[in-house]
Symmetry: C2
Subunit: 346 residues, 2 copies
């Protein structure tokens, strides 16, 4: 390991609090998780941030990139016009083997585009997918696809299942992940036409333990280890859950302020709140993984602070150490070979 | 009004706590909301419950039905084999004009089936849809369809929009309801193929104020007054939101028990919690409406207690008083006439 340090490229310019929080988080991540970080972006702005921190014992390098794709910008246009954008240079670090993984907190569309265009797909993977780890009182559930592909085929869901299964087994040490299909009822035969087709395709595949249909509530109650779905449904599920939590927190804060007793109660309860909120806090989760890319790609929340970036580096490191990509490559190839073999036999 | 009392038929045998909680809630609802209730079910079992309560001043009648479709039973089989099922007799009360509305807390599938088969659709309505009122810190949002139709056409979503718009304008007094399409981004052009088609159809229709795309989080932040979607996406959104709330509450309770101080905090905070939880409590909401049926049909949670049934009667009464059905009939007919006119012109 000493001769082959883990290197993670960080888009230092992406995100609401870039570059200050990104640089700070990257340095913390490098220190805490013992990895080397490549800070990609405008050198003068990064240097200003570096001076604010004690960097002794931290291995880092500044990789210059003169342009930035902004949050509001069209990712497609940005990627086409700004060839020296920090997110492109970050992806190129992975492509050229200078880093095994990348972390990006800027535009999700730009990060997905740069990773797909410059790092490239794992051979055989039809479409990369976003996997988000959802909290539960017991074991977390990986929701995949959480928004990369609005329209999917049943075969794409099978690949999402293969990739999610490998991740949960190898990074989260789930012995035999239960892979469920996100649906509107648990019984076989539930759902729309697409869900029926996906169910059949998932059931036929032998590379993971298909646990049948799961419902929206099972995403958060330990009812499945992996929940596969198309990116439209997955994104709506994720944002609905975020929305209701925010609504409840807003209303609770308002109600809390109605009396001194409830205010005191809120103060006493703070440690419990903080523990519970840790579970749903994007800063703690660190980021989502873009599965299916020939390099580990972690996409953090646009509003990430230093802690979020530090944890994103943890997420990237875990996937690199567990060789998630190598294992995905093998199983995707296996699927294609079986498919070709079956085709030849017929 | 005195000569034409509002009569609501209640399936007294449907739900986890039937008949005891259903009868109690129906009597409370009749008293509090000044309506007459028809208690449909096995007379001997209903009579036992009636004896437990003071029924003076409450107008009610027992309507006999010998059979019950159980929660676990296939709704289709139940409806076919049990012709004297309480849910069928309840629907027949509406069909025959004995009641203007019905309340059911048993199997949702059986209630939808009985309402569709026996009460029937409003002429021109392609498919009935479930509308659920979602809480927000400001104004609630009606999510329609929340699960009746797994596969939808864009035209069905237009009808859901028409029906939801009338409901929010007339029952919840929203001056000009903002009708949004549930999607995975706010910008025009976002989403899957179906969302693009639905967007176009909704934009073209002039019977409501189309507000463009809304996201999962907008369901709970006052971002729209009506959110239309297919029943698959709507159901996943609803259950994901329920799931994350339950998860958070479980974790918070666990964390609260870790120390005496946090326990004390929890006790002091209880009034604020209770107020906030009221917003998301199905008992307070009362039930969902099945839109597109020639009678008001309120479907309550299977786990409804007396308060839930009482509030379901409120929901039914509100829709009856506001003549939601008459207004929906008119606008659906209008849509068909415009469509026919356009067809003739072309």
């Amino acid at each position: 390991m000493a001769n082959h340090p883990i290197r993670i490229a960080v888009d230092a310019m992406g995100g609401d609090y870039a570059p200050q929080d990104i640089v700070e988080g990257a340095l913390q991540g490098a220190r805490v998780h013992g990895v080397e970080v490549l800070l990609v972006g405008q050198p003068d702005r990064i240097e200003v941030e570096l001076k604010k921190h004690d960097t002794q014992g931290v291995t880092y390098r500044v990789v210059p990139a003169s342009e930035v794709i902004e949050m509001g910008e069209s990712p497609a246009t940005g990627l086409r016009k700004k060839k020296d954008a920090s997110i492109i240079v970050t992806a190129k670090c992975v492509k050229d083997g200078e880093a095994q993984g990348m972390v990006a907190a800027g535009s999700t569309g730009a990060a997905m585009g740069a990773a797909t265009l410059y790092v490239g797909r794992i051979p055989g993977v039809e479409r990369p997918a976003i996997g988000v780890l959802l909290p539960s009182p017991s074991t977390p559930c990986l929701l995949i696809d959480a928004g990369a592909n609005a329209d999917c085929t049943p075969e794409m869901l099978v690949q999402f299942a293969v990739m999610g299964n490998i991740y949960m087994a190898n990074v989260h040490q789930v012995a035999k992940p239960r892979v469920g299909l996100l649906n509107i009822g648990e019984e076989d035969g539930k759902g729309n036409v697409f869900a029926h087709q996906a169910f059949e395709a998932l059931e036929k595949d032998g590379r993971f333990a298909f646990a049948g249909n799961v419902e929206g509530r099972d995403l958060f109650n330990g009812g499945a280890d992996v929940a596969v779905t198309d990116g439209f449904t997955g994104n709506v599920a994720l944002k609905s859950a975020e929305g209701v939590m925010k609504m409840f927190s807003t209303v609770l804060k308002r109600e809390m302020k109605r009396s001194l007793l409830t205010l005191a109660g809120g103060a006493l309860l703070k440690p419990a709140f903080d523990s519970a909120k840790k579970l749903v806090d994007p800063e703690e989760v660190g980021g989502s993984l873009l599965f299916g890319i020939k390099g580990v790609c972690v996409i953090s929340h646009g509003g990430s602070h230093a802690l979020g970036v530090q944890n994103a580096i943890r997420v990237a490191k875990e996937a690199i150490v567990a060789d998630v990509l190598g294992k995905i490559s093998d199983q995707i190839r296996e699927g294609i070979e079986i498919h070709e073999h079956v085709s030849e036999t017929i």
